[in-house]
Amino acid sequence: MRMTLNILMLFFVAAPALAQDLTVKAPAQDKPLTIIGGTVHTVSGGTIEDGTVVVADGIILFVGETDAARDFVKSMEGVDEWTVVDAAGRHVYPGLIGANTVMGLIEIGAVRATRDYAEVGSITPEVRAAVSVNPDSTVIPVTRLNGVLTCGVFPAGGSIPGRAGVIRMDGWTWEDLSIDGAAGLIVNWPNMRVSGRWWSTKSFDEQRKEIEKNIRAIDEAFDLAGAYLDAKGADDSLPVDLRWEAMRDALRDGGRVFVRAQELDQIEAVIAWGMKRELDIVIVGGRDAPLAATLLAQHGVGVIYTGTHRMPKRRDSDYDVIYSGPAALEAAGVSWCLATTGGSFQTPHERNLPYHAASAVRHGLAHDAAVRAITLGAAEMLGVDDRLGSIEAGKSATLIVTDGSPLEVTTTVELALIDGRVIDLSSKQTVLAEKYREKYRQLGLIED
C-alpha cells in the first residue's frame, strides 16, 4: 500500500483573498483523513487521552486510542492518499450545535429588508426555515470560528410561527446546508401571567381573557388540523390545506413540537397540554425549568435552556439563578441542552454559545456535562443525534480541533470539519482585521 500524506497545518491563518461571504465553500471530502494523537472528547464514550479519529466520505470510521487506530488504518484497503492531522497537544471535540438561532434568516437586525424570520399572521405552520437560509450570510463564517458548526433555525412570531430546520454551517445552497428541513413544529406558548407592570394598559380581567383566547387559538389550530387530516385520510379528493399538512408530522407521525415557554406556569401548562394531545414536546426557553425539573424528568419532556447570559427575572432571585439553572436540570435528570437566547440580536453572537456553557460550569455544572449540553444534548433536542453531537463511528465527521476547552474564551479553534470537509476559518472579520493591520504597517505604527 502506497500512502501519500498531506499534513494539515494547525496554525490559524486568515486567507487575505477571501472576504466575508466571498469565502469559498469547502469541497466534499475526497480522501480519508486521520486526526492523530489528540485528546479526543467523544462526549458519548468518554475522553481518550491519546486518541485518533479516522474519517472518510464525511463519516467517522473509527475513534479510539492511537495504537488501535494504526491497526484500523492498516485494515483499510485501497486507500492511496491520506490527509493526516497531527493533533498532539490538541483537543478534539464534536462540532458545537447552536440549538436556538435565526441563522441565515437575519443579516442586520435593524434593517428590515434583511429580516426573514417572522411571517405575517399568527398561525403559519406552513412556513419552514430551511428554504430561506442565506448560505452566504456573513454571520455563518464568523460563527464557525468558535466551533459552532450546526444550528437549529427557528422562525419566530405569532402563535405557530412555522417549522424549524437544522443546518450545517457550510454549503453552496440552502439545500446543501439543510440537515433536516422539518425538524419540528414551533409553538409560542402565550404569556400566562397577568401583569400589573406599568406598561400594561389592560386590566387584569382583560389580560386573563386575552390569555385564554391565545391558548384557545393554539388549541383550535391543532383541532382543525386534526379534523382536516381525518377528513383527508377518509377522502383524498379533499383540497390540500398547506397549513394543516404542515402539522401532519407532529400530529400523526410523532414529529417534534418545540414549544417556547419561559415561566413556570407556561411550562406546567405545556407539559399537560402535550400529554393530552400526545405530542413529542421540547420546551424552548425554560428559564423556570429548574422549578419544574421533577415534572419535566417524570414526563421525559426535553428542554432547550436558552442561555445563561440572562438577568434573573425576580428581584429576590439568587444572583446566579440563571447561571445555575443548567446544573439544576442536570441534577434532576432532565433531558436538556443549552442554547443562546436566540432572536435577531443574539444570532450574530451565536459564537458565544460555549461561554454560556462556561457560565453554567462556573455555577455548578460539570465541565463535560456542559460540553454535552452544546453538542450531543443539542443534537438530541433537535432530533439529529443519530448523525451529530458526538465522536462515534458512523456519525458525521463534524468536529473541531482546539488548543483547549472550547468553553474557555482564550481557546482557539484550529481546525473545523463539517462532514469531513475542512472548513475555512476566515471570515469577513478576520479579513477586515488583516486589512487594517496592513494600514498601520504602511504607516509604520505596528510591526509585521
Partner: protein, 1070 residues
C-alpha cells in the same frame, strides 16, 4: 359614658336650623363691593355659642367642657364651663368634641391650559410659574364640599401640573353668596411657588421627557430668575447700554424669592429636590409620596417642612402560586411598613403636615383618609401628633398660624364638631364651622324612636309597652293586676321608619283576639320623649294614643373603643438599604486586610505576582508584595484581617466605562438634539438590585452615561457600587472629572426610530457635524461674553448647556462619544482639534480599528464592545479584533458593557482581547481595570493594585480571564460588599422574610377583606411608583407582545447600544 339623652337634645336643636332660611348673610368684613341682592336683604347676626362640648384647643390641650363663642367669623371666647352670652344662638354640644378646623395642606388643582403664545410666556409649556392656583375654577363647590366632609375648613390650593406650576393660595372651604366666584374667601395668595419633576412621555417630543431633564429645567429656570431681576435693573439704569430683557412672567414671579414647594413621586425625589433648592439657596417645602420610610435616614437630614399623604401601599396579590412567585420581598415590605411612614417621619423630627391628596381610592371620596390615619396610629404614630399634622403644623407651614390651627380667642372661627374622637373608628363628624358659619356634615343619627314607650290612651289610661328597636316593633299589654299569665308579645310587620315618623302593622288577631281579621295600621310620630300614635282598625275605626319614653336602652356601642386597653406602641422594624432583598443596614465597615498567597494581578507596573500579597489599610492599598518581600516584612498583624487566598487570584475592582445601571426616570433626554445641561448624577438610583448582581461579578466602579438619542447628551456620573448607601450621593466617586455623553450616527439621526422621526435636525452625519460645531462655537462665544460681563460687572445669564460645553473646550469636562463609523470618529477628532480639547473616550468605537492613529492623538482612549456587531447597519464592519488593533497602535482601550447583564462578567470580556488579536494577558485585564480608569481620569485612585490607591479589589476562585472562574469577594474602599458567604446569608434571610410576610398577608386577607377594595383598580396595585401617564404605552405593548411571542423576555432583549432602545424603555425606574 355618653348620654343618649343629651345627644337627642342636640338633634332637636339642630333640627330647628333645617327649617330656617338659607344662610345668605353679607359679611360685614368683606372688602368686596356688595353684590346686588335679589329681594330684601338678609341679616345674619353671626353670633353663636357652642355650649358644653369637650374642646380640643390644640393637639394635647383640652377643656373637658367649655363654651366657644363665635362672633363675626372669629372666636370671641373659649370659656371653661362658661355660660352662653345673651343674644348668641346656642348650640348644645354636650357629648361632642370641638376641634380646630382642619387644614388641608395640599390640594392640587389642575389649571386650564395656558395660552402658549401669550407675551411673557416661557418657551417651555411646563413652565408656568406666573400662574395662580385660582386662575381657573379654584377648588369648586364640589371640591370644597368633599374636603369639608373630612373636617377641613381651609385648604392650600396648589397648581397641579407642569414643572413650574404656579403660585399657591390658602383658601377657605366655605361657600360664597355670590354664585360663580372661584372661592368664597382667599385667605392668602402667593404662598408657595409650586414645582415638580413632572415629565412628558419619553417619545412625546416635549422637553423634559426624563427626570434629569426636569431637574435641569428647574436649575436653569431658577438661575434665569436670579439673573432676570438684575438684567431688568440694568436696563432701567442705563436703557441705552442694556437691552430690555424679553418679558418673562415666570422669571418675575420666581424672582420674588418665594418659598418653593416641590411635589415628589418618591423618597429619592425628596433628596433630589432638596439638593437643587440648596444649590440656589432657596427656602423650600416638600410634598411627599408616602414612601419616605424606605430611606428615612436620608430624609431626616432634609431641612424642610413636608406635606405627606396618608397613602398606604396596598397589599400585593399573593393569592395564586404564580402571584406569590412574582411578588418581591420589597413589595411585601412596602405593604407592611407603609403604615409606619408617618411615625418614622415624626420620630425623625421632621415637620410634617398631612394631606388627603394622592390617595388611591376609586373616585375622589377619599374614603381611606381616616382609615389610613388610624393604621398609622396603630403603627405607633402619636395621636396628638396626627392632630397637629392637620391643624397647627399646616397653619405654620402656610403662615396662617396667627389666625388658624387652634381653638382660641381671636382665631378664625374654624371648628370641627365631632361625635367621638376625630380618629376613632366609630365617630361622626357633625359639623364644620368655617369663618363662623356652620356646615352640617352629618346629622345626629335619627334613632329617636328607639326605646321603650309606655303607651296610654289620650285620656291617660295605660295600655301597654311598645318596644321599638332599629328595625323591630313589639308590643306587650300592660299586665292586669292579679293576672296569672304573662301577656304575649305581639310583633309588628311592614315597618317603615322615616324619622320622625314610623309606621307598622299588627296582625289584628294577635293584637285584639280571635274573630278579628286583617291588620291594624299604626302610624306614630316621635317628638322628643313623646310619641303620638294613630291606629286604624280594618273596620275603619281610628283611635289616638300617646306614648312616653320609658327606659333608655342607650347607645350600646358608644365608648367601647375608649374602654379598650391602650395597645402598646409596636416595635419599629429596622429597614435595610435598599428596602428588600439583599439590602444592608448600612454600608459595611471598613477593615484592614492582608490578602496573601494569591496570584495578584496588579494591573500596574509589577504585572502579575505569583504567590503575592496585598495589604489594605484605611481603605487604601498599603502595599503589594511578593512572597519574599512579605516574609522580610516585620508586620504587626494586630487589627488586620488576614485572608489566605492560596490558589486564588486577586485583581483590582473591575471598572465599566459605559453603564446605564441605576438611573431613575429615563436614561435619555432625547427631546432635543443638544441637552448638555442634564446630569445623570442628579438621578442616581441606589435601589437597583442590579448593583448587587454586578458586585457579584467583581464590578466596583461604573461610568453612568446618558443614552445616545441625541448628538450632545447629558453629563455623566461616576459611581462606586456602594450598595447599602443611605443617600444616593454616597455612591458618587468624589473628585472624578466631569464628563458628558456625545453620540453620532444612526441613533442621533433617528435612523431606526420609525418613519415618524424624520424632522429633527440632524438627519444625516453631515448635520451631526454641523450641530456639534455650532454648539462649540456658541460655547466659545458664551465663555468670552462671560469674561467680558465679569470684567464690566454686568448681569450675565448663565446657560447651563453652553457652560457644560465651554468646560469641554477648557479641558475641564471629558467627552464620552458614542460612535461607530470611522468617518464620524475622525470628524469628532477634527472638531476637537479645532477647538483645542482632548476627547475623553470614543464609546463603542466599533470602527476604531480603521482610524486608530487619530484616536490615539485626540482621545484618552477607546471604550469598545468586545465582540458585538451586525445589529444595525453602522456596526456591520465591527470587528472583535478592534480592541487588539487599537491597543497595538497605542490607543488606551477598555471593554465596556452598556448592559446590566454583561456588566456582571466583565472579566470574561477582557479575555476576548486575548482571544481576538492576542493581547498579552495582563494587558487584557487592564481593558476592564486600569484602562477605563485612565479614560475616566480616575487612575490616580483606582484601576490597579498599587500603594496609595483605593482598596477596591476582587478575589477570584481562579484565573480571572477564565470564563469558569467565579468572583468570591468584592471590596470597595476596604469594605466588603459581596462575598459568597454573605450571599448565602442573604438568601436565607430572604426566604425567612418572604415566608413571614406571605403568612402575614394571608392573615390580613382574611380579616381585612375590604381593605384593598378602597385601594383602587386591582390591576394598578403593583404600581407603587406610578409613573406619569404615557401615550407611548401602546407602542411599548406592541413591542412587549412581540418579544413575548418570540419567546424573549423584554428585560433580556436589547437594541444593542446605549440603552436607547427597548432595554431602557423597559427599565422600571423611580
Amino acid at each position: 359614658m355618653r348620654n343618649f339623652y343629651i345627644k337627642r337634645m342636640w338633634h332637636v336643636v339642630a333640627g330647628c336650623v333645617l327649617g330656617a332660611t338659607l344662610w345668605v348673610g353679607v359679611w360685614e368684613t368683606s372688602g368686596q363691593p356688595v353684590a346686588p341682592v335679589n329681594g330684601p336683604k338678609h341679616v345674619d347676626p353671626g353670633y353663636h355659642a357652642l355650649v358644653g362640648g369637650r374642646v380640643v384647643i390644640e393637639a394635647g390641650v383640652e377643656l373637658d367642657r367649655a363654651t366657644v363663642v363665635v362672633r363675626g367669623g372669629v372666636i370671641e371666647s373659649v370659656i371653661e364651663d362658661g355660660e352662653p352670652p345673651a343674644g348668641a344662638r346656642v348650640w348644645e354640644c354636650d357629648g361632642l368634641t370641638i376641634y380646630p378646623g382642619l387644614i388641608e395642606a395640599y390640594a392640587p388643582i389642575e389649571l386650564p391650559e395656558a395660552d402658549g403664545d401669550a407675551p411673557g410666556r416661557h418657551w417651555n409649556k411646563s413652565v408656568t410659574g406666573e400662574r395662580g392656583a385660582l386662575d381657573g375654577g379654584g377648588l369648586g363647590a364640589d371640591g370644597r364640599k368633599k374636603l369639608r366632609k373630612l373636617g377641613f375648613a381651609v385648604a392650600h390650593a396648589v397648581p397641579g401640573k407642569g414643572v413650574f406650576r404656579g403660585r399657591s393660595a390658602v383658601v377657605s372651604l366655605g361657600e360664597d353668596n355670590v354664585p360663580g366666584r372661584v372661592e368664597a374667601t382667599v385667605i392668602k395668595r402667593d404662598v408657595f411657588d409650586a414645582v415638580s419633576l413632572e415629565t412628558g412621555a419619553w417619545n412625546s417630543g416635549q422637553y423634559p421627557s426624563s427626570k434629569m431633564g426636569a431637574i435641569a429645567l428647574i436649575r436653569q429656570t431658577l438661575a434665569d430668575a436670579r439673573w432676570y431681576g438684575t438684567a431688568v435693573s440694568a436696563h432701567e439704569g442705563a436703557p441705552s447700554r442694556h437691552a430690555r430683557p424679553e418679558p418673562a412672567d415666570t422669571l418675575v414671579a420666581l424672582g420674588k424669592n418665594g418659598t418653593l414647594l416641590f411635589d415628589t413621586a418618591n423618597e429619592l425625589d425628596v433628596l433630589r429636590v432638596a439638593k437643587i433648592a440648596n444649590e440656589f439657596g432657596r427656602r423650600f417645602a416638600v410634598v411627599g409620596s408616602g414612601t419616605e420610610f424606605r430611606r428615612i435616614d436620608a430624609i431626616a437630614d432634609v431641612d424642610a417642612a413636608m406635606v405627606v399623604p396618608v397613602t398606604m401601599i396596598p397589599p400585593p396579590r399573593i393569592g395564586t402560586r404564580g402571584e406569590r412567585d412574582v411578588v418581591s420581598l420589597r413589595r411585601m415590605l412596602e405593604w407592611e411598613q407603609s403604615p409606619t411612614n408617618l411615625r418614622r417621619l415624626e420620630e425623625a423630627g421632621l415637620d410634617i403636615s398631612l394631606t388627603s391628596a394622592k390617595l388611591r381610592d376609586k373616585g375622589d371620596d377619599k374614603e381611606s383618609f381616616y382609615k389610613n390615619i388610624r393604621r398609622a396610629i396603630k403603627a405607633g404614630l402619636d395621636e396628638d401628633a396626627a392632630l397637629a399634622m392637620l391643624t397647627k403644623r399646616p397653619a405654620r407651614l402656610l403662615g396662617v398660624e396667627e389666625r388658624m390651627g387652634r381653638v382660641a380667642q381671636g382665631m378664625s372661627a374654624n371648628l370641627v364638631v365631632v361625635d367621638g374622637g376625630l380618629f376613632d373608628e366609630e365617630r361622626t363628624i357633625r359639623d364644620v364651622w368655617i369663618d363662623g358659619r356652620r356646615y352640617e356634615i352629618e346629622r345626629a343619627k335619627e334613632d329617636a324612636h328607639v326605646g321603650e314607650w309606655s303607651v296610654a290612651s289620650e285620656a291617660g289610661d295605660p295600655i301597654g309597652t311598645l318596644t321599638i328597636e332599629e328595625k323591630a316593633v313589639a308590643f306587650v299589654y300592660a299586665q292586669d293586676e292579679g293576672a296569672v299569665e304573662d301577656p304575649e308579645e305581639v310583633e309588628g310587620q311592614d315597618i317603615r321608619i322615616d324619622p320622625p315618623n314610623i309606621d307598622w302593622v299588627f296582625d289584628t288577631a294577635d293584637l285584639i283576639g280571635e274573630g278579628d281579621d286583617g291588620v291594624m295600621l299604626f302610624s306614630a310620630r316621635v317628638s322628643g320623649d313623646e310619641m303620638r300614635i294613630i291606629t286604624e282598625h280594618p273596620d275603619g275605626t281610628v283611635a289616638r294614643y300617646v306614648a312616653e319614653r320609658g327606659l333608655d336602652i342607650g347607645d350600646d356601642d358608644a365608648g367601647s373603643e375608649e374602654d379598650e386597653v391602650a395597645e402598646e406602641t409596636p416595635e419599629l422594624a429596622e429597614l435595610t438599604y435598599p428596602l428588600g432583598a439583599y439590602g444592608l443596614s448600612g454600608q459595611p465597615s471598613q477593615r484592614d486586610v492582608l490578602v496573601r498567597g494569591a496570584t495578584v494581578w496588579t494591573s500596574g507596573e509589577r504585572g502579575i505576582i505569583e504567590n503575592g500579597a496585598v495589604l489594605f489599610q484605611d481603605g487604601k492599598v498599603a502595599g503589594v508584595f511578593d512572597a519574599d518581600e512579605l516574609a522580610s516584612l516585620e508586620m504587626d498583624l494586630a487589627g488586620i484581617d488576614v485572608i489566605d487566598a492560596t490558589g486564588k487570584h486577586v485583581t483590582p475592582g473591575l471598572i465599566d466605562c459605559h453603564s446605564h445601571t441605576g438611573i431613575s426616570g429615563g436614561v435619555n433626554e432625547g427631546t432635543q438634539a443638544v441637552t448638555a445641561e442634564v446630569r445623570i448624577f442628579d438621578v442616581i438610583n441606589p435601589d437597583s438590585v442590579n448593583w448587587y448582581r454586578e458586585l457579584a461579578g467583581g464590578l466596583t466602579t461604573v461610568n453612568q452615561l446618558h443614552g445616545s438619542a441625541n448628538p450632545i447628551g447629558g453629563q455623566n456620573s461616576i459611581v462606586k457600587l456602594r450598595w447599602g448607601a443611605r443617600h444616593p450621593d454616597e455612591m458618587r466617586f468624589d473628585g472624578a472629572p466631569g464628563g458628558i455623553k456625545f453620540a453620532l450616527g444612526e441613533n442621533v439621526k433617528q435612523s431606526n426610530w420609525g418613519e415618524k422621526h424624520t424632522t429633527r435636525y440632524p438627519q444625516t452625519r453631515m448635520g451631526v457635524e454641523t450641530i456639534i460645531r455650532d454648539r462649540f462655537t456658541a460655547a466659545r462665544e458664551y465663555a468670552r461674553a462671560g469674561v467680558i460681563a465679569e470684567r464690566d460687572k454686568q448681569p450675565f445669564r448663565r446657560d447651563m448647556e453652553l457652560e457644560a460645553l465651554a468646560e469641554i473646550i477648557e479641558g475641564r469636562r471629558l467627552v464620552h462619544c458614542h460612535s461607530y463609523r470611522q468617518d464620524e470618529i475622525l470628524m469628532l477628532c477634527r472638531v476637537a482639534g479645532e477647538f483645542g480639547f482632548t476627547i475623553g473616550t470614543f464609546q463603542h468605537v466599533l470602527e476604531g480599528y480603521k482610524v486608530a492613529e487619530a484616536i490615539r492623538e485626540h482621545a484618552r482612549g477607546g471604550s469598545s464592545f468586545s465582540d458585538w456587531w451586525a445589529y444595525k447597519f453602522e456596526v456591520f464592519d465591527a470587528n472583535p479584533e478592534n480592541g487588539a488593533i487599537m491597543h497595538e497602535v497605542g490607543v488606551v482601550v477598555s471593554f465596556n458593557s452598556d448592559s446590566d447583564e454583561l456588566a456582571r462578567r466583565m472579566n470574561v470580556e477582557a479575555a476576548k482581547a486575548v482571544k481576538y488579536g492576542g493581547v498579552e494577558r495582563s494587558e487584557a485585564l487592564k481593558f476592564v481595570t486600569l484602562n477605563p480608569a485612565i479614560q475616566l481620569g480616575i487612575e490616580g485612585r483606582v484601576g490597579s493594585l498599587e500603594a496609595g490607591k483605593d482598596a477596591d479589589f476582587v478575589i477570584w476562585s481562579g484565573d480571572p480571564l477564565s470564563s469558569m472562574s467565579r468572583c468570591e469577594q468584592t471590596w470597595i474602599d476596604g469594605r466588603r460588599y459581596f462575598s459568597l458567604e454573605e450571599d448565602v446569608a442573604h438568601r436565607e434571610k430572604i426566604g425567612i422574610e418572604r415566608r413571614r410576610l406571605i403568612q402575614s398577608l394571608l392573615a390580613q386577607d382574611k380579616d381585612d377583606k375590604d381593605s384593598d377594595s378602597a385601594d383602587g383598580d386591582e390591576s394598578k396595585q403593583e404600581m407603587v411608583d406610578s409613573p406619569p401617564p404615557d401615550p407611548s404605552v401602546e407602542l411599548l405593548e406592541m413591542r412587549y407582545d412581540y418579544l413575548i411571542t418570540n419567546g424573549l423576555d423584554p428585560y433580556d432583549a436589547r437594541c444593542g447600544d446605549c440603552g436607547c432602545g427597548i432595554h431602557s424603555v423597559f427599565r422600571r425606574s423611580n
